[in-house]
Point group: C2
Chain length 478, copies 2
């Protein structure tokens, strides 16, 4: 993009009554993208279609961001805030009408401070998870939210991301000490803080209101994150079990015996395991016969072997006892990176098999197996010959119920299945229809259907207070 081309496109935008000009004037040409090709990366959604941005605004400091919000609100503009655009429900994608502005936090990288004594980090919204971990590692620390994507910190807070090690560390909510942000009302007002307090029990907690509300109530500018010591030992095994029921029983035994060492317990169906192994030609099948269900177990510790802790031998001892008790059919102990490679290949390998339909649900662990059976039954009834390749974070009851549907499956059949499956998880199993991915335009209708009136009224009161003219974001929680 040359600045000449950019300026000519600016000149063409008369209806904004000078807004474009003011934005370029203060932010410079790096701060405003109006060309179709420049805007394109900010209009794409990670999974569900794309939108059209009126323009992309990229403030590079909190002051610029606050000013941008003030300008946009003052100009009656509607805008959506976007981090790394890795979300899966379209909450950061502009609508397709071409009227919504994108405020990108990509350049909000003015602060990344590690405090090793407090085990915390103050991070500007535009940094990515990998940036934080790189900086933390220099101090023997880590931010242990383990995800397939590499989202921005602002997006992680807004989405309250979970991931594969939630069972040990919790999700973002359990690991964010403070959030600083900017409001749409009063326009550009600064709220919250960057304190590193682990306890601050003084009433309405702005941090909690900003965590997991998908940008509906304000813009995250900084988060103060709790860091943890890096792990010095990790031992992993892949265990074949007879069923998801047995996997859950195994989980209870695993936690009872290995307690605080447990850092992951990832289940996968035989189909999912098969798909992954076929997809990775360099990986030998871990079991001679594909099992009905398999589990990747991980224990880890910040304590070194030299201090007197041998995690691999503790895991081996436990596994042998489980084989003796016939709790597991077979198990492979291998290097973490080799076993996780299989687990991480599932999504891609399933997508390679055909048209993927995905559900991100969760239930109480005690109802996991029963719900899974019910879901498989529903899928068979609605889309005959669909291939169910589910995997999940069993430790927290999360299930990525991915299915491959036959070519030519009707769109309305899939929509019908989705409605029935969500209804079953929420109404029959007291579960969640969006465990990790949050709420966006993509699943807003289900939010309306499954959320009770008092909660929506409460969210409505917050919308009225924080965004009286409905200009902020594309998620409505009322």
């Amino acid at each position: 993009m040359s600045s000449e081309i950019h300026r000519s496109s600016v000149a063409a935008q008369a209806p904004d009554h000078g807004l474009i000009g003011r934005l370029v004037g203060r932010l410079g040409v790096q701060g405003l993208l109006t060309d179709a090709s420049d805007k394109a990366p900010f209009e794409a959604s990670a999974r569900h279609g794309r939108g059209v941005a009126r323009a992309v605004v990229r403030p590079a400091s909190t002051e610029e961001l606050a000013w941008v919000v003030q300008e946009l609100v003052g100009a009656d503009a509607s805008f959506v805030v976007q981090g790394a655009a890795t979300g899966l429900v379209g909450a950061a994608t502009p609508s397709d009408r071409g009227t919504q502005w994108v405020v990108s936090t990509q350049r909000l990288r003015n602060r990344l401070e590690i405090d090793p004594v407090n085990r915390s980090a103050i991070v500007a919204a535009g940094y990515r998870l990998s940036d934080v971990n790189r900086a933390a590692a220099e101090h023997g620390l880590t931010f242990p939210i383990d995800l397939g994507a590499d989202p921005s910190i602002g997006g992680m807070v807004a989405t309250n991301t979970g991931g594969s090690r939630l069972i040990r560390y919790g999700g973002v909510r359990e690991n964010v000490l403070a959030v600083a942000g900017v409001l749409a009302n009063p326009p550009g007002a600064r709220v919250g803080s960057t304190h590193g307090l682990r306890k601050n029990n003084i009433g309405l907690d702005w941090t909690q209101l900003m965590t997991g509300t998908f940008g509906a109530f304000g813009v995250v500018t900084h988060a103060t994150l709790k860091l943890h010591p890096v792990q010095r030992q990790t031992a992993t095994a892949l265990a074949a079990v007879e069923s998801a029921e047995m996997a859950m029983e195994l989980l209870c035994s695993f936690e009872g015996a290995l307690g605080e060492f447990v850092s992951a317990f990832e289940g996968m169906s035989g189909n999912a395991l098969n798909a992954a192994v076929k997809h990775l030609p360099s990986v030998a099948p871990p079991f001679q016969n594909a099992p009905p269900y398999a589990v990747l177990l991980e224990v880890s510790s910040a304590v070194s072997k030299a201090a007197g802790l041998d995690l691999e031998s503790i895991l081996l001892g436990w596994l042998e006892a489980q084989v003796e008790r016939a709790m597991i059919l077979d198990a492979v102990v291998d290097k973490p990176e080799r076993l996780w490679r299989i687990r991480h290949a599932i999504s891609e390998s399933v997508q390679a098999l055909g048209k993927l339909v995905a559900f991100d649900v969760a239930v109480s662990r005690s109802r996991f197996a029963a719900f899974r059976a019910r879901a498989i039954e529903l899928i068979a009834a609605e889309v005959a010959s669909a291939l169910v390749c589910d995997f999940g974070h069993l430790g927290d009851g999360g299930m990525h119920l991915n299915i491959v549907v036959p070519p030519g499956t009707r769109v309305d059949a899939i929509a019908e299945l989705r409605a029935k499956l969500y209804q079953a998880v929420v109404e029959e199993f007291d579960g969640s229809f969006s465990a990790e991915h949050g709420i966006g335009p993509y699943n807003q209708a289900f939010y309306r259907r499954f959320t009770d009136q008092p909660t929506r009224a409460l969210a409505g009161a917050l919308h009225v207070q924080l965004d009286p003219y409905g200009q902020l974001g594309n998620v409505r929680l009322d």
Copy 2:
């Protein structure tokens, strides 16, 4: 209390236009206390004076509670919800005007269900922490919030209690999966749920709004709590160090080496240690010479010794290395119950020395020692010859800055010290003036002083939505 006496006192309450009669009619005489002697236990505050209740209402089910709230709101009554009345800021104590009703959750004990597979418990608000732990222990589980008091579960949620093991497990917020409650507006409306989900990322989280808001926004009826495996090994030591600075350095080394085993790191000044040891005639002084500062260190594990983990020898190895590095002056390894007895005796022993003035503050760990020095300086300047007996949860930056003031110290000198100390912790050290105890009438004025306008406006919008006529509770967050 005989029911005759009770009835005659009911008859004397004409101005309620039949409300008393309706309450007795539905709840029975156990459900309504109007005699002065029956009301007295519900009018006392754990630390700061007492109030006068119009009457005490004790519903025994969620339905009764919802109906009571509806009746009270309909009768324009003002009421405060009370659990076990162990709070320290007066949030559950009625005002002294005699017009406020107390709604006690004491009899709300209709549900205590442990789900061992999900590692969770659904608990009615009136159960106490000890009740939950007794029930959980039968399944090898525990709710690991460790407190001096034995509060009700409803009160723990409303206060977001922390305690001595927050460093390992977090506080209530990190361990509450769901909250069910009743609103004052719409009067008696039920909200929330009792689901046992570890992930349910669907927008405004009612659980977070009810946690740590001191009953301002609704009444907790049930909480679903995360349980953890019980610890099978615990090793503790009391270490003498040169200063609070050294204690913080020691904490970093402790966490770096012992990682997930760390379950407590409690600091105490030499004065606090001395007071406790003198108060316990059966306990021999742990050190020949009283150290300037001491630390109770605890490591614990759910993994048994038989599985190949010897926690005591790991702790000993680490302690020896610290003595060699001159990080600690001396250390005593002893049974947990013996060392914790010293730690738990501090509050009582300090109170026995004279008039106690207490501050419950927190700062970032990296500023703990500097703040402590500043606080000691402030105390000396404001109340000469005060004895500073501070102790604290160093792992989370929490400090119980307890001081004993000389007889005859003027009340306004103490008030002046309080104002200056809170100002220092908040404005100079970016800390908290109420780390664990929350906000109540006792410290409401400081809340107003230190809370920013956007946060108060937001709380105001919630008050308007949830309690438009200001009838619920005696904490205002706007």
